[in-house]
């Protein structure tokens, strides 16, 4: 974590040098007295499809809807690595010695917005809906809670989770921003009610949603966490055009956009508004991957796959691309600055991460020659989304050209893209992964064998990798787990080169300097309850 802080500071220092003017650091660092009042206005680049967080997958739901709810746990809103679970409705918890029983004590006096009291049966009902959905209810996330044996409401303020096997990641997975606590009585009557209605315990009460326009919430005066929230309310504006979002912040019609802006937008805002803008940056838990279709020749040959990764000069690429795209860090399978991230010197040992690019490319050419496919040509399939798919594709194609490969780009419209990938109708394609919390269990699952995991677009089965996945997941402690994560990474990226990592996404939030109490994290799904946020004059 301190690693991340250091990195942020270096980043900020570099920015200040590039004549952008003085930067204020994280707004939480300034120990100011929070001020009450004001309405926070923020554009949201997407719009919630339904209102049910258990069902949807887009930040377009989180940003306007999260302030109406609490979870059992949450990610510490002051933690820049976005990995530290703390209690939300849970006041405290104990874990049994064998690591199989988690007992949570709940806050007392928590009220839903209709005035009824929130108790353990609401927690149980909400988690039952997610983990053991009744027929006709879609729960995309039940697979992530495979480890849960049962949930029990012991007394009104105590809830107990029984696990099938011990895992060090359980608390973090309960801190998921999607797991809103709903009211048991309502769910019992109609499990789909929450798709079209709001009724939570959160710091803000639902006022209105005007389709295609905006979403309004007002302060919950009876919020259980006394003294919060600070804001009188908030207003989310649904604006799909990114230049209009930037214009909104620039014209001071909005305070902040919680997803992220591009480097060009950041520079334009900073130049135009100076001190009125505060920039927060962080590595982003999203990454564009290169899926290599193992079913197509010659990509079944690992020498060819290794050559593809060895061709990439990631360090130089980072320097150029961070000026024009939302990518920056050279990273392994975990976001830099988080507990399981790859230390830089270990990273430099992996294929495609060597510090000497000439040696790397020479090796790549040698491998291609051995495989008998020198100077071959193939098609790179990309998704029709400009940022950052297009710049990364242009970069990849240029890098591959430098080991003598002739690569054509084929762009497929965004909504049709995954249909193409699933059918396996490609040689090499851009793929994408994005998480709500940096956690190896969530981040690495995508790379396990195709037979158990439909999101594997490399179409390979690798029992060794599956085994390493399970070992890291069930490791008894953090140090042990790190070892297995590293082994997994080495096999995935170097030995087998099943998938290629490009550069870690980079999240840039330039916001009005009036906004305080909000900390950037590596995920645009986190930190949106808004209970800690306040506006200065």
């Amino acid at each position: 974590m301190s690693n991340l802080f250091a990195r942020c500071n270096v980043g900020i220092f570099a920015l200040a040098l590039s004549a952008l003017g003085a930067m204020t650091g994280s707004s939480l660092a300034q120990a100011q007295q929070p001020r009450y009042g004001g309405e926070l206005v923020f554009p949201v680049p997407s719009e919630p499809p339904s209102y049910d967080g258990h069902k949807e997958e887009t930040f377009g739901l989180i940003h306007p809807v999260a302030p109406h709810y609490n979870g059992l746990m949450r990610v510490d809103p002051t933690d820049p690595s976005g990995t530290k679970p703390v209690g939300d409705l849970a006041e405290s918890w104990t874990i049994s010695k064998d690591g199989l029983i988690y007992t949570f004590k709940l806050h007392k006096g928590v009220k839903f917005h209709d005035g009824s009291e929130m108790t353990s049966k609401d927690i149980k009902a909400s988690y039952d809906k997610i983990i053991f959905p009744p027929p006709g209810v879609v729960s995309d996330r039940k697979g992530q809670y495979e480890v849960v044996e049962s949930i029990e409401a012991v007394d009104p303020y105590t809830v107990r989770f029984k696990l099938k096997w011990p895992t060090v990641s359980f608390l973090a997975s309960l801190a998921s921003p999607w797991n809103f606590i709903y009211k048991a009585d309502i769910l019992a009557k109609d499990p789909h009610w929450y798709e079209t209605h709001i009724m939570g315990t959160g710091p803000f009460i639902f006022v209105e949603h005007v389709k295609g326009s905006h979403w309004v919430g007002k302060k919950n005066p009876n919020y259980w966490d006394k003294g919060k929230p600070y804001l009188d309310g908030y207003r989310a504006l649904f604006i799909s055009s990114s230049s209009a979002q930037v214009a909104a912040v620039r014209g001071e019609r909005a305070h902040i956009q919680f997803r992220g802006f591009t480097p060009a937008d950041r520079d334009a805002l900073k130049t135009a508004l100076g001190d009125k803008i505060t920039v927060q940056e962080s590595p982003w838990d999203c990454v564009l991957l290169v899926a290599i279709n193992h079913k197509k020749k010659p990509f079944d040959d690992k020498r060819v796959r290794r050559a593809l990764t060895l061709a990439l000069d990631r360090y130089e690429g980072s320097k150029a691309l961070q000026r024009i795209a939302i990518v920056k860090e050279v990273a392994g399978v975990q976001v830099p600055g988080t507990p399981y991230a790859t230390p830089p010197d270990e990273l430099a040992k992996l294929a495609g991460y060597w510090k000497d690019i000439n040696a790397s490319r020479a090796e790549a050419r040698k491998l291609l020659k051995e495989a008998g496919v020198e100077g071959m040509s193939f098609t790179f399939t990309n998704r029709g989304i400009p940022m950052p798919y297009e710049p990364l594709a242009v970069w990849l194609i240029d890098q591959w050209r430098q080991i003598g490969l002739d690569v054509k780009q084929q762009v497929i419209e965004a909504a049709a893209y995954y249909a193409t990938l699933r059918k396996g109708e490609f040689d090499v394609a851009m793929d994408f992964q994005c998480g709500y919390i940096v956690e190896p269990d969530l981040d690495l699952y995508k790379f396990t064998s195709r037979e158990r995991n439909p999101a594997n677009y490399g179409f390979y089965d690798d029992k060794v990798l599956d085994d390493l996945y399970q070992k890291q997941s069930r490791a008894p402690n953090v140090e042990e787990r790190k070892k297995f994560v590293r082994l997994f990474e080495k096999r995935l990226l170097d030995e087998e080169a099943h998938y290629l990592m490009t550069l870690q996404w980079h999240r840039i939030i330039p916001h009005s300097s009036k906004v305080h109490g909000w900390q950037i994290t590596p995920s645009h799904y986190l930190n949106n309850e808004l209970d800690t946020v306040w506006l200065s004059q």
Partner: protein, 318 residues
């Protein structure tokens, strides 16, 4: 005349049905569907095939295509547009506010275009092949030549840089706050109105030229411009008919066709909704939108035909 109107009215029905059938089929040919667009976006972890199949069944996408079509048309006949596949809420609710916005922009642009086009077109025709004519033509052709989104971006950027101002972000209906409403919509209306006026100016000019070529006006040419104008006035009724047609059709087109302009000026209108609906494979919403825009277009066409027939009896029997 009544017979003609009836016949013309009945002809609208196959056209509308055809539009309905084509958009219905077109959408099903486009790869991907709403379930895929929603859950395979890559933002989430990806869903199992079984869960996706359940979702499809819930939306009725597992039924044979002809059955889906029949059901849709049956509901349409009961004036029921159904619910959006993406949000699950009634389509009327999705469209309401956006329709108001698009309608207002279209109306404002029409007013701007008409006010500009008719005088300019008439003057250009009267002064054919003089510098006045050239100036009007250059002005109007420039309107056609500039990509409207480019013009829009230039406009917004200059507001930002020169006045440090951006138009309001959210649509306020006129009856709620006329000032806020105008301040937001006047700029896109101007940008669109300019291009639109170019089309109408050209039509006015050529239509006037045609009238001016009629023999009795040629004779008057020798007798000075003033007399010519007076004569033209009589013929103006006929000359304006094609102009009105163009204006009417352009108006119908503007209702759903401002896809790019709406994007640039950040207007949540029908055009933007169109693009979103197609990108999300929201079949029901796209179908409803296409039908709505096509109906307006077909209706405007119908009214124009009636007007022509009323003015020119030959058409009725043709």
């Amino acid at each position: 005349m009544w017979q003609f109107i009836l016949k013309r009215f009945l002809l609208m029905i196959p056209t509308l049905l055809g539009v309905a059938a084509i958009i219905f089929l077109l959408l099903r040919v486009i790869p991907g569907d709403v379930v895929e667009a929603k859950y395979m976006s890559g933002e989430g972890q990806g869903m199992s095939n079984q869960v996706m199949a359940e979702e499809r069944a819930k939306l009725g996408l597992d039924k044979p295509v002809w059955q889906q079509f029949g059901l849709w048309v049956w509901r349409l006949l009961h004036l029921d547009l159904g619910v959006s596949m993406w949000t699950g809420s009634p389509i009327t609710e999705e469209i309401k506010l956006r329709f108001a916005l698009s309608l207002q922009v279209a109306l404002m642009a029409t007013v701007i275009a008409t006010v500009l086009a008719i005088p300019l077109g008439i003057i250009a025709a009267l002064k054919q092949d003089t510098w006045v004519d050239y100036a009007v033509r250059i002005f109007s052709i420039a309107g056609l030549a500039m990509p409207s989104f480019w013009l829009g971006i230039l406009m917004i950027l200059s507001f930002l840089i020169i006045f440090k101002w951006v138009p309001p972000m959210v649509y306020t209906p006129f009856w709620v706050d006329p000032w806020q409403n105008m301040v937001q919509l006047i700029w896109p209306a101007l940008a669109v109105g300019y291009r639109y006026s170019a089309v109408a100016t050209r039509m006015t000019r050529s239509s006037m030229l045609e009238v001016l070529r009629e023999d009795y006006i040629r004779t008057a040419r020798a007798k000075g411009l003033w007399l010519k104008l007076i004569l033209v006035r009589h013929a103006l009724k006929n000359a304006m008919l094609p102009v009105v047609t163009v204006i009417g059709l352009e108006f119908a087109f503007l209702l759903g066709g401002l896809v790019v302009t709406e994007q640039v000026f950040n207007l949540n209108g029908l055009g933007l909704l169109f693009v979103q609906a197609i990108a999300r494979r929201d079949y029901t919403l796209t179908q409803a939108l296409v039908l709505l825009v096509a109906s307006v277009f077909i209706f405007v066409n119908f009214v124009m035909d009636i007007m022509y027939a009323w003015l020119d009896p030959r058409i009725r029997h043709g």
